[in-house]
Amino acid sequence: MTRIGEIIETMSTGFVAESFELNHPPALGSLVVVRLPGAGLVSSTRQGGEGAGIDLYAVVTYGQTAGIDPSRRAVRRSTDEVFDGAIYQHNPELERTLRTEFGAALVGFGRSGRVHQHLPSQLPPLHFSVQEPTSDEVVRFTERLQYLRLLATPYLASGPVSSAGQVPPLQVLSANVRWVYEARGGDRVWLDGAAREIAMLLKSDYEALLTVLYAIEPAESVGTLEGS
């Protein structure tokens, strides 16, 4: 079990978690899991029992690093000699005064060996751990592609408008497809299936569909960006 964060805000559609590692939230679009013992799950005092546990799956929608105290904004700290990673060596208090958080949208859950790709009936409890799923879990959860609809919902509901600082929903969707493709070992068949699913979702919005298709196309080697 690899714990990567702790839930600090929660709602029926997703949660915000504080990352255990500063500046290293899980990858945009990656799948994360919150494991709940027992069935009822929301009571913080309940420790298992009452039926099988539930694994809630969510896709990372953004990451952000800022001061723990919202009234203290980060300020420039670099000098000619001390910059980038050395700033953290030079100012050890930063590890305690900054925090990295990430948001995740719920895309389904697993219970009793079955995968469900719709929102769970209960929200994930505050302060529970966010974990990395196992490779098998990623494969199992992404066998079906209906969860992509949940990721596309914000776009389908509101269009391309997103508030400042928010990752546009289609970019989250694309990031997830890229991440799953890699996590499944470059599974081209899966990628083609995902592209077809997305084509159905965005059939009435050609420009949006192209945006996603371009973004999920596996990168080809075309030399380094720095040129020849």
């Binding site: 105290d69 300020v75 700290r77 030079h90 100012n91 050890p92 208090e93 305690r96």
Partner: protein, 400 residues
């Protein structure tokens, strides 16, 4: 709007103009004053100050007394400077700062809260930071009175402020790490609790106990302590210079015919931070002994001080005598203060250990309200009616 900003605005402009008008003249006097500081004879100045202090135990000014030159001080005279030595490759700096919820006479029960924030920052190959607080609700007679057995000497006002200051050193026993790494403790504010100087001896002793024990603890551990005062308003050295210039009785200026009269009067408006503005970045001044009456209660932990250009301002650093007399500890303290200020993201710089200690110590309005509520709830659960003063109640309601 109750505050009439119209007249205030024109007065602000006049105030700024007055400052600007004085500036060239002050520069000339500052130049003269530094010259006098450079040329002053250390032994003669000390003797003159001691003579006056003996004649007038309650000397009207705080003055800076030169230490014993025989111990290696003042090799370049009173205006001597020392560059900050390089900081060790690996060291720890601990900053402490305090805040409080003071006793509230409108509250149905008497209590206060002392909150000490501290930052333990370790630099070197394995940098680390520990930021935390120690919070204490004081409600027993032994906390609320200087003399609990007869419920005398209520801890409030000046005594409460002193208690708060002492608390920031009391917690060090539990905070200072047990390792061999060079370590320095910085306290926000002076070590000289001069506000206690008008209290009776036994009150002074009681309130200084925690502070002096905290200082002794650091002395035993070989950890230098500095009381860091940013943007100091002190005039100890300029006052000593005035005594040096004075041919009669200081502070009895009527009818003074000294040729230095104008310089002396100009010095009255200057602060030590102006006088020591000649220090280069990273340099510190010579050490001087404080002369506050309260220091007599400090025993062998008399407080000395120096000024340091930390790069943007001249700060005052107060140290116990055992640091003054230990060149290695004094050098480490100076080096760490300089290093801290170089690490500061702000300008003028401020030691990050003190900044973070302050951030930890702060008690927000909502936290204050929460403690208030907790007390009321606890009393309510035991059936005690929660009655606040009518005045406080009317301020809370603020009805129109």
């Amino acid at each position: 709007m109750p505050l009439k900003l119209g007249p205030i605005s024109s007065q602000v402009r006049r105030m700024a103009q007055a400052l600007a008008d004085q500036s060239p003249l002050q520069e000339a006097y500052l130049h003269q004053a530094r010259q006098r500081l450079r040329n002053a004879d250390v032994d003669q100045l000390r003797a003159k100050l001691e003579r006056h202090l003996l004649r007038q135990p309650r000397f009207p000014w705080l003055v800076a007394k030169p230490l014993d030159a025989g111990l290696g001080f003042y090799q370049q005279g009173l205006a001597g400077t020392s560059k900050a030595p390089p900081a060790p490759a690996e060291f720890t700096v601990i900053g402490t700062d305090g805040s409080s919820i003071p006793p509230d006479r409108h509250s149905p029960v008497r209590y206060f809260v002392l909150n000490v924030g501290y930052a333990l920052l370790t630099y070197g190959p394995q940098p680390n930071a520990l930021l935390d607080t120690q919070s204490r609700l004081c409600f027993e007679d032994k906390d609320l009175y200087v003399f609990p057995e007869r419920r005398d000497g209520a801890i409030e006002g000046v005594l409460f402020a002193a208690q708060m200051e002492a608390e920031s050193l009391r917690v060090l026993r539990e905070v200072v790490p047990d390792n061999s790494r060079p370590t320095v403790v910085l306290r926000d504010g002076p070590l000289t609790l001069w506000t206690l100087q008008n209290e009776k001896d036994n009150v002074q002793r009681a309130l200084l106990r925690d502070l002096l024990e905290g200082m002794s603890f650091l002395r035993e551990r070989g950890i230098p302590l500095g009381g860091y005062v940013s943007f100091t308003g002190s005039r100890d050295v300029t006052n000593s210079l005035r005594v040096w210039l004075c041919e009669g009785q200081p502070n009895q200026c009527e009818g003074c015919t000294s040729p230095d009269h104008d310089l002396c009067q100009a010095l009255a408006a200057l602060r030590d931070r102006d006088l020591f503005a000649y220090l280069e970045e990273g340099e510190r001044s010579e050490l001087f002994a404080g002369s506050s009456q309260i220091l007599k209660a400090y025993g062998d932990q008399w407080v000395d001080f120096f000024y340091a250009n930390v790069g943007g301002e001249v700060a005052r650093v107060e140290v116990p005598r055992w640091v003054s007399l230990n060149a290695e500890q004094l050098g480490l303290l100076h080096a760490v203060i300089h290093d801290q200020c170089q690490r500061s993201p702000g300008f003028p710089p401020y030691p990050p250990a003190l900044l973070e200690a302050h951030e930890q110590a702060v008690i927000t309005m909502s936290e204050r309200g929460l403690v208030d509520k907790m007390v009321e709830q606890a009393l309510g659960q035991l059936g005690y009616p929660v009655i606040r003063s009518a005045k406080d109640d009317s301020k809370r309601r603020r009805g129109v």
